[in-house]
Amino acid sequence: MEVTQFQLDALREIGNIGSGNAATALSTLLQRRIDMSVPKVWAVPFEQVSDIVGQLDMPQAVIYVKVEGEASGKAVFFFPVESAEIVVHALFGTSEPMDLYTDEMAQSALKEVGNILVSSFLVALTQFSGIPLQPSVPALAVDMIGAILDAIFLEEGTLDDTVLFIDTQLSGIPKIEGQFIFLPDEGSLKKLLGAMGL
């Protein structure tokens, strides 16, 4: 569907509220200050996704949650591996090295972080739109960001030439960087905008 500038602004506002909730949840969980960028709303050809996520073969920890309900979509939270390690250390209150690729405890903790972030994002979205939305069980992959994102985009075996998503950068002190993106499914965008009278 064609998206107007006005609708993009509305989506940015949704992103602002949702991501604010998510950042607050992360801050409470880690007992650290978390800053959030002003969300960007992108409607770009998927070939340009690398401009948004950076180098496609950079290893990142990616938590993927499907959003189910009348306005379904995909929520993805990703951190560089070093940041993910800091998050896990903060949660366990330890500085012992952990291998995120194999350590099940660390992986489970990261999934839970993703779960909390996405759930708080969805609470805001539901309050705003009146459309009830539920997160699926989170899935985690630690690997090349490009490889993971292509799998998420292509999961249904189709891909529109333009992907639309809300993108927020989170950063914590010290040295936590993360990025949260929400991709509404095509029909969902219409429903979300409709619920807001747009």
Binding site: F46, L56, M144
Partner: protein, 160 residues
């Protein structure tokens, strides 16, 4: 001095020796590498889905069938002889598995099948198929030697 030519998502490029072709972060997508060892020319396509199935518009380099047609045309225009062409492919991983979901629609496997079918259609021998698994791959292809270097984050690196 050899140059590394980067192939993006849903993109294809050709090269002449000594240049290398690179595509980064293949997940369920597939990197198709084809070369003529005598002329030392070749090409790489980074496809995302199996079949264009008549869908009009959009980027043809996204699909195995339409990308192959474009790549073959360009390789032929560089003077490559069809009977000398050789292929290697990599990618087609399954990055996530959700418990309880059916596995029949795995897009990585469908991509691999479609690519193999296309290669058969053009009569190009497939020398190496490094596909499947649940990890990403970055690949470098040397069009002179046909060497394909496959790098992963946690599953080693090899040249095939």
């Amino acid at each position: 001095m050899s140059v590394i030519i980067t192939v993006g998502m849903a993109d294809y490029k050709t090269a002449r020796s000594p240049d290398l072709l690179l595509t980064a972060g293949l997940g369920s997508c597939i990197g198709i590498c084809i070369h003529d060892p005598f002329l030392k020319v070749g090409g790489m396509a980074h496809i995302m889905l199996p079949m264009a199935s008549g869908s009009l518009g959009g980027n043809p380099a996204k699909y195995a069938d339409t990308a192959m047609a474009l790549l073959m045309k360009e390789i032929a225009s560089m003077g490559a002889n069809k009977s000398r062409l050789r292929a290697k492919i990599a990618g087609g991983a399954q990055m996530f598995s959700f418990p309880g979901k059916p596995q029949i629609l795995k897009i990585g496997d469908r991509n691999a099948e479609a690519v193999e079918l296309e290669l058969k259609k053009y009569g190009i021998p497939l020398l190496i198929a490094d596909i499947g698994g649940s990890f990403g791959r970055t690949i470098h292809f040397d069009v002179a030697t046909g060497d394909l270097r496959i790098r992963t984050i946690n599953h080693g690196e090899k040249v095939v």
